[in-house]
């Protein structure tokens, strides 16, 4: 039976606000999980189950991808649409698939990530003899997953015009009992990564398992003085510097940089994100100069490049930046030797590095501090203990 698929990215309910199902301006479905975007993982899964023709319709363009995945992206039938046009374009795509000879069309809105078997869903659809069958969880809540008979264009049009919330006739239901992650917030993205690392969901990481539970992509650079504790993932072209600690299920995606002495604990660092030296990033999702603290459930914008920065998505600009910093290294050291008051660097050995205050703070705040205060950071070790503590 010829089954085709339409994948919709966006179209969240307006009452959830513009930030729903996205983080740092990018839909969660387009973010990487263990080195591969969620969308590509779903496409791979559908193709492995025999669905060849897949249309992807998105309100946002695909963010820059790591080299190997770029080819897979180009092979996708991708359409970027203006805001508000998502379901109208989906309706046209459904007509195209029907005209091309499809017997059934699978519609997924990302939205959530589900580990489902197309065969099982299709069988339920055929057995139920409904025009539209929707997947629901054990509580009857919709999962944004529909199987539509291609001959039922009016039902499909009605469904799309009601933003997948309402069916024209009574629809069939398929109770899905497998793994489902709603991907409603960055917290869910982190949960998906942890589930993958703990192998609760079979998402293959893009890398080799160097030690039990530690996956490192071949092109990642990890300093030999860095510590990585399983389970963890280091993506392609990521750079983990000396005395950095990656622990408790942390994920460093491609082209991310973790500077000297920084501790990443139970956190995900998204692609092209640079975390400054001597910091503690714990229980968080960090990327695009934004940090979501999962324990406090607060998202903060970090505009200081000494704490968090982004590296260029273009290889040529990155190379230019590296060359510029290399050329400026000696003059900068010379200048510092002449004029700088503090030479404190982040220790490069563990555990001293993990306990030192961030060297991102070593630069003076810029106000006229008194002379006696200028030697402050090094002498701060007079950490006071109070009698009643």
């Amino acid at each position: 039976m010829d089954v085709r698929a339409i994948i919709l990215i966006g179209g969240a309910k307006p009452e959830f606000g513009p930030e729903a199902e996205s983080f740092a301006g990018t839909p969660l479905a387009l973010h990487d999980v263990l080195g591969r975007p969620v969308l590509h993982r779903i496409v791979d899964r559908l193709q492995a189950q025999g669905i060849g023709a897949i249309s992807v319709i998105s309100e946002m363009p695909m963010p820059p991808l790591e080299g190997a995945i770029r080819n897979a992206q180009q092979a996708l039938n991708w359409t970027t649409v203006a805001a508000g046009q998502l379901f109208r374009v989906a309706e046209n795509a459904f007509s195209d698939h029907a005209q091309a000879g499809a017997e059934g069309v699978l519609v997924l809105r990302l939205g959530g990530y589900a580990e489902f078997e197309v065969e099982e869903f299709l069988q339920r659809h055929l057995d139920g003899r409904a025009h539209v069958t929707r997947a629901v969880d054990g509580n009857g809540a919709g999962l944004g997953l529909f199987m539509i008979a291609s001959s039922r264009r009016n039902d499909a049009a009605y469904l799309f015009r009601h933003h997948l919330q309402q069916c024209r006739a009574a629809s069939g239901e398929w109770v899905f009992r497998g793994y489902f992650n709603p991907l409603a917030s960055a917290r869910d993205l982190r949960a998906l990564a942890v589930d993958a690392l703990m192998q609760r969901v079979p998402l293959a990481s893009i890398g080799e398992e160097r030690r039990p539970g530690i996956w490192i992509a071949p092109s990642a650079r990890v300093d030999r003085r860095a510590r990585i504790l399983a389970p963890a993932f280091i993506g392609a072209h990521a750079n983990v510097r000396a005395a950095a600690v990656i622990t408790r299920g942390s994920v460093i995606e491609h082209h991310a940089e973790i500077d000297t002495g920084t501790v990443i604990e139970n956190a995900t660092v998204l692609p092209y994100t640079c975390i400054g030296p001597g910091l503690d990033v714990a229980h968080a999702v960090a990327g695009g100069r934004r940090l979501l603290h999962l324990a406090r459930n607060v998202e903060v914008e970090i505009s200081d490049p000494r704490l968090m920065d982004t590296v260029s998505e273009h290889a040529s600009l990155r190379a230019l930046s590296s060359a510029a910093s290399l050329a400026a290294y000696l003059p900068l050291q010379f200048f510092r030797g002449l004029f700088a008051t503090s030479h404190r660097d982040q220790p490069k050995e563990f555990p001293a590095a993990a306990h030192a205050p961030s060297s991102a703070l070593s630069a003076p705040a810029g106000f006229e501090a008194s002379r006696e205060a200028s030697s402050f950071p090094a002498s701060l070790a007079v950490a006071r203990r109070y009698g009643d503590q």
Partner: protein
């Protein structure tokens, strides 16, 4: 051990970047340079803080410690708490839920060794007389120098 010195409560601005930190420090300069300053920074309004802001807090703490005073933080906004935690500086400050708690903490300060009844057990050295303060002196309100006498 109560103190009659005033406690200054200062609200930190919403954005604490380099420019704001400079202005804030200029404003705080007379207080920081007073004798044994007791300061509470109310951080409830802080929405954005960068490394320069944290540096400014550390500089203020340094100033105050050198003048034998104290600087406490109160009512940390979630954003401020995250940045302090991220830069490993939250452990350097006393942090209170509210400004009033922080202010009260100055008058309730009592070192642990002064809380206990002054049972002074001197080593049995024959040439020293037993401490006369041991039985009569209450520890509260007594300075360490008194106890040593």
């Amino acid at each position: 051990m109560e103190t009659n010195r005033p406690v200054v409560v200062k609200r930190i601005p919403e954005r604490l970047n380099l420019k704001q930190a400079r202005a804030f420090c200029r404003e705080m300069d007379p207080i920081l340079n007073s004798d044994r300053p007791q300061i509470v920074f109310d951080c409830s309004q802080v929405k954005q803080v960068d490394a320069a802001g944290v540096e400014m807090l550390l500089q203020c703490l340094s100033h105050v410690i050198r003048r034998d005073g104290d600087l406490k933080l109160a009512a940390l906004s979630p954003q401020m708490a995250i940045i302090l935690e991220m830069t490993r500086t939250e452990r350097l400050f006393e942090i209170y839920e509210s400004s009033s708690d922080a202010v009260l903490s100055f008058s309730r300060f009592l070192p642990a060794h002064l809380k206990q009844p002054a049972v002074f057990t001197m080593p049995a050295i024959p040439q020293l007389a037993p401490p006369r303060a041991a039985a009569s002196n209450s520890a509260e309100g007594a300075a360490p120098a008194d106890l040593a006498a």
